[in-house]
């Protein structure tokens, strides 16, 4: 069961893709025109669960999502002073790292349909991480 939250976002208009369909079927961005005839992005945030089988993986997804948010905020703060500083570069590199890690996990769950904890949990079904997640 998915909950949908809509946020509208003013983007850099010339760069907005006219249609943004992702390989991820859970998510898509749609566009509408506001009263001034400008194109705005509606970002559909889907909190759909179901791909992660084990609690440990679900926790990890959540952790990565929180990290992304946190690190984007940090990067914005750090870069306020000097955009070309080393600290700024490193901060955005961290954002990239966790964004990619989250995307990799999602890809693994959705395209390969395999929970990374599968083998671990076969050996250790009793651990907290291996509780089967139920919706």
């Amino acid at each position: 069961m998915a909950t949908l939250t809509f946020h509208s976002l003013t983007g850099n208009l010339e760069r907005i893709p006219a249609s943004c369909s992702c390989s991820n079927p859970r998510m898509s961005a749609s566009f509408h025109c506001n009263s001034r005839g400008e194109k705005r992005v509606s970002r559909m945030k889907v909190k759909a669960m179901g791909a992660a089988k084990y609690k440990g993986t679900q926790m990890r997804e959540k952790q990565l999502a929180e990290m992304i948010e946190k690190k984007v905020t940090e990067a914005k703060e750090v870069c306020e002073g000097d955009e070309t500083s080393d600290e700024c570069k490193v901060a955005w590199d961290e954002v990239e790292e966790v964004s990619q890690a989250k995307a990799d996990l999602r890809l693994r769950l959705e395209i390969e349909k395999k929970d990374p904890l599968e083998f671990f949990c076969q050996e250790n079904p009793e651990t907290e991480e291996c509780r089967v997640y139920e919706d």
Binding site: L9, G11, N12, E14, R15, I16, P17, A18, S19, C20, S21, C22, S23, N24, M27, A29, V41, R43, M44, K45, V46, R60, Q63, L64, A65, I68, E69, K70, K71, V72, T73, A75, K76, C79, E83, E87, C88, K89, V90, W92, D93, E94, V95, E96, E97, V98, S99, Q100, A101, K102, A103, D104, L107, R108, I111, K114, L117, F119, F120, E123
Partner: protein
């Protein structure tokens, strides 16, 4: 098949009985087997010269691992290219069973894919302290990378560190056994000259800025915290290091897959329809570049017409020789999309030197992974073809080794 040279401390015809143990525990690729002879030649000096060990050094020709390098900025071991490549060899690639669930390594029957992030010398905290990004060579241990790739190539297992992308820490190492084909994937496979020399084939995945931006939007837009600004800022901030350290590697690659926005749709910036160029170096051992119709000539080809109906925006090919960073290359280029199976098979039937084992193999591989990104355009097509070329390269290398005549030993 192994060529074994026997060295003995005394003449062979004494009593060096070679009773081979049926099962050795030294691992798959074994370099030396030591046998003890039962020679009873005694000497006044004691037993040192009687029945000394016969050391047989096996240069097992089938233990030569083929090493492929893949430079890509899209994470490790889980990229679509890796999946297509391992699929060409058969079997699904999976993380090592029973090991660290955050391992970046993928193992299938024939191939092992190693993520070069595992050779980070600085973890996330360390990099923050020193003010270096993961792209910076200072964050990576090239000595260790070289040592371990060299060891694996010569048939020796290694304990490779694990860089955990979730925690940002370096985890305890995992054992990697030498596979038939070792793929090293990451940001710096061709950065260090010593590692470069170990590669039998190297590929660089060159994504243009516009396409990178479009792909990262698709990847990140649904994440809380991300916006177009943050995605753009992240790409911009990493660009100086990327241009300084990663991009120059493409001059060393045997094949570059360049992904650009399409030219078929004026003003398109969606990054959905792509123009993909496969830049293949000439003169690479065991690698014959793919060509269209007439090798070495230059031509443009639009397959859509009377025999083949394509939907908008269609497909356009280009092929021709060129130079790339001072090297002679052949470039095969595809712009557009496949919408139907028959388009794909039609195109396949007109390409040459694609190293397929049967007609339609490329199409079959593409269909097998129809849900992978790029399955309807040049990225999927060229990744699949490069996979087949690597298979061909592997077979050529292994065949040439077993063809070496056996050396007879003389005592």
């Amino acid at each position: 098949m192994a060529v074994c040279t026997v060295y003995t401390t005394q003449s062979l015809n004494s009593t060096c009985s070679i009773s081979t143990p049926t099962k050795t525990h030294l691992g798959f690729h074994q370099k030396q087997v030591v046998f003890y002879s039962t020679g009873k030649r005694t000497s006044k000096r004691g037993s040192s010269s009687s029945g000394g060990p016969c050391v047989i050094t096996c240069s097992a020709v089938d233990s030569q691992t083929v090493v492929i390098g893949l430079a890509a900025d899209s994470g490790c071991g889980k990229s679509t290219f890796m999946r297509r490549l391992t699929s060409v060899f058969g079997g699904a690639a999976e993380p090592p069973r029973g090991g660290n669930p955050d391992s970046n390594t993928l193992i299938s029957d024939m191939t092992t894919v190693i993520c070069l992030d595992d050779y980070h010398s600085l973890d996330r905290t360390g990099r923050k302290e020193k003010g270096v990004t993961a792209l910076d060579p200072r964050a990576n241990n090239f000595d260790l990378m070289y040592e371990q790739v060299k060891a694996l190539k010569s048939g020796v297992a290694v304990d490779k560190p694990i860089y955990n992308h979730v925690t940002g820490l370096l985890d305890p190492p995992e054992l990697i056994k030498p596979p038939k084909i070792l793929v090293i994937e990451g940001l710096h496979p061709m950065f260090d000259e010593r590692v470069r020399d170990l590669l039998d084939f190297s590929i660089y995945l060159d994504i243009s800025n516009e396409v990178k931006f479009a792909w990262k939007i698709q990847r990140d837009m649904a994440e809380r915290g991300h916006s177009l600004e943050s995605i753009k800022a992240s790409i911009e901030a990493r660009k100086p290091d990327f241009d300084a350290f990663i991009d120059p590697q493409k001059q060393y690659a045997d094949a570059v897959i360049e992904v650009l926005p399409t030219q078929l749709i004026p003003g398109d910036n969606e990054g959905k329809v792509l123009r993909v160029r496969l830049i293949m170096k000439e003169g690479v051992k065991h690698f014959s570049p793919v060509y269209l119709f007439d090798e070495g000539s230059t031509l443009s080809w639009i397959p859509c017409g009377r025999k083949l109906t394509c939907s908008y925006p269609g497909i356009k090919f280009h092929y021709g020789p060129d130079t790339y960073f001072g090297n002679e290359v052949s470039i095969l280029e595809m712009d557009g999309q496949f919408d139907r199976l028959d388009e794909l098979i039609y195109v396949e039937s007109h390409l040459s030197n694609i190293s397929t084992k049967f007609y339609g193999e490329v199409t079959q591989q593409m269909l097998k992974h129809a849900d992978f990104p790029g399955s309807n355009n040049g990225t999927g097509l060229f990744q699949t073809i490069v996979g087949l070329k690597i298979r061909d390269l592997y077979e050529q290398i292994t065949t040439s080794k077993t063809a070496t005549p056996l050396e007879a030993t003389k005592a």
